[in-house]
């Protein structure tokens, strides 16, 4: 027994080293797998405080660019207002009912919330965006995030009371279902970690006739993003000789170097759809019911 204690005392530094390594690696691997780690909520609040201070400074330099983007977005939306349109070749003009929304047949599926980007990098393999909205403001995991000019930015992965972390499209574990608007073919958007100016798109069959500049929009199979929103444009087409698919380079619409105001979109049916998916899987996989 005494020898054991002597042994421990002799190599105490080494044991402390091993213990700290174990803690660090445990944090790292559990985070890489589940995007969860101990004490992350508190840490998020602290880094959020610092990042807020930094952001007020940064705003001075990016305000002009941000105003331009906002004005463009407003411009495109104001053009959609019903007051812009009249039916010209009859005497009847289009008027609106006093009840502005049809409450009978429509259900709202998506809710948009504005948020401000506090911290954002493009240099790492795994880039995250921190925003100043958290669970107190109704943000939850899996919500989609779009930039102020309408381009897809990423997905919320971690929420603390006042701040949340968004997995940016510039993250090597990121996979998004997208659509080429002109040909309607579905592919998977990912990032190979090389160049933050370009994303990659796979699974587009070679039978499609693509041109540079074709628009990529969010796909129909995602629970986090509403379909049909801008993601980027095709910047380079590389036919993959070994398979029947293209490998495409995509220029993202959102400017990741200069991300200031973003919108967080919530799918109100997320839990419904998720439960349905799970239930279906359970029913199909249930061994007792396999003999149909």
């Amino acid at each position: 027994m005494r020898n054991i204690f002597l042994f421990i005392r002799r190599f105490f530094t080494f044991f402390v080293f091993l213990a700290l390594q174990a803690v660090a690696l445990w944090f790292l691997f559990s985070y890489n797998k589940f995007h969860q780690a101990k004490g992350l909520g508190v840490a998020n609040e602290i880094t959020g405080w610092f990042n807020t201070r930094y952001n007020t400074l940064e705003d001075f330099f990016t305000m002009r660019e941000e105003n331009r983007r906002l004005l463009q977005m407003n411009d495109s939306l104001i053009n959609l207002l019903p007051s812009n349109f009249i039916v010209s070749d009859t005497t009847i003009t289009l008027t609106r009912d006093s009840i502005p929304y049809d409450t009978t047949g429509k259900l709202r599926q998506y809710v948009w919330r504005e948020a401000q980007v506090l911290y954002n990098t493009v240099n790492a393999d795994k880039n995250y965006v921190q925003i100043n909205r958290g669970s107190n403001h109704g943000i939850q995991d899996h919500m989609g995030v779009f930039s102020s000019d309408g381009g897809l930015v990423g997905q919320v992965v971690n929420v603390s009371p006042n701040f949340s972390q968004v997995m940016s499209l510039l993250h090597v574990q990121n996979k998004v279902n997208v659509l080429i608007r002109r040909t309607n073919s579905t592919g998977t958007l990912y990032w190979d970690g090389r160049d933050p100016r370009f994303l990659n798109l796979k699974d587009i069959p070679r039978s499609d006739s693509l041109v540079l500049g074709d628009t990529i929009v969010t796909g129909k199979f995602s629970l986090s993003f509403p379909p049909g929103y801008l993601v980027g444009t095709i910047a380079e087409i590389i036919p993959d000789a070994s398979t029947n698919f293209y490998v495409l380079k995509i220029r993202p619409t959102a400017n990741f170097n200069n991300l200031q105001q973003v919108m967080v979109v919530e799918n109100l049916f997320f839990n419904d759809l998720k439960t349905l998916e799970k239930e279906t899987k359970r029913k199909v996989d249930d061994p007792k019911r396999s003999a149909r």
């Binding site: 700290l20 790292l28 602290i46 880094t47 610092f50 393999d125 574990q173 970690g193």
Partner: protein, 177 residues
């Protein structure tokens, strides 16, 4: 200024510079990530206990990790660096901590060449382990080697620039003081 206060200020400055300046510079190349924050660990006094050094290393890494959202990544690398530091110092300047004429490692205390070797070895240890951990989850072996080399080169450049821009004026310790 007391030793503790000086090191707390340094810690804050190094983390803030790493997070808000070096991590925010526009993308240069995928193999080049400028790291400087671990210079804080190289500048800690000679007299610090080995356990204390490990704990400080862990906290430094973790502080940066929470900003970059990679919990444990830099902490693991910093703990390894902190563990290796006393050995490297022992090899380069085999002295008892009480015999040093200056309080902490610096070009003046050790001479430029030993100091640069000291910085280079620990930089490679830090980056080697850091990039290895990144490589485990993503990347190729060739990328790993090139990234260790290029990132270490950039870090050495930053360390030399820092040493020249901010020469630490330290009192020569005598037996009387």
């Amino acid at each position: 200024m007391s030793e503790l206060l000086r090191n707390i200020i340094r810690f804050t400055l190094f983390i803030l510079v790493q997070v808000y300046v070096l991590n925010k510079i526009p993308h240069l190349h995928r193999f080049i990530v400028p790291y400087l924050y671990f210079l804080f660990l190289l500048w800690l006094p000679f007299g610090i206990s080995r356990i204390g050094l490990l704990v400080v290393g862990f906290l430094t890494g973790l502080a940066l990790d929470f900003f970059t959202m990679t919990p444990g990544l830099h902490a693991a690398a910093c703990v390894l660096l902190a563990y290796c530091r006393p050995f490297v110092i022992n090899i380069l300047t085999p002295k008892d901590p009480n015999e040093f004429n200056y309080r902490e490692p610096s070009p003046r205390a050790m001479g430029w060449t030993p100091y640069l070797v000291y910085a280079l070895v620990l930089t490679i240890v830090h980056h080697g382990y850091l990039v290895l951990l990144e490589w485990l989850s993503f990347g190729s072996f060739f990328g790993f080697l090139v990234k260790v080399a290029s990132t270490s080169a950039i870090s050495m450049l930053l360390i030399i620039a820092t040493e020249m821009l901010f020469p630490r004026r330290m009192k020569f310790r005598t037996n009387i003081a």
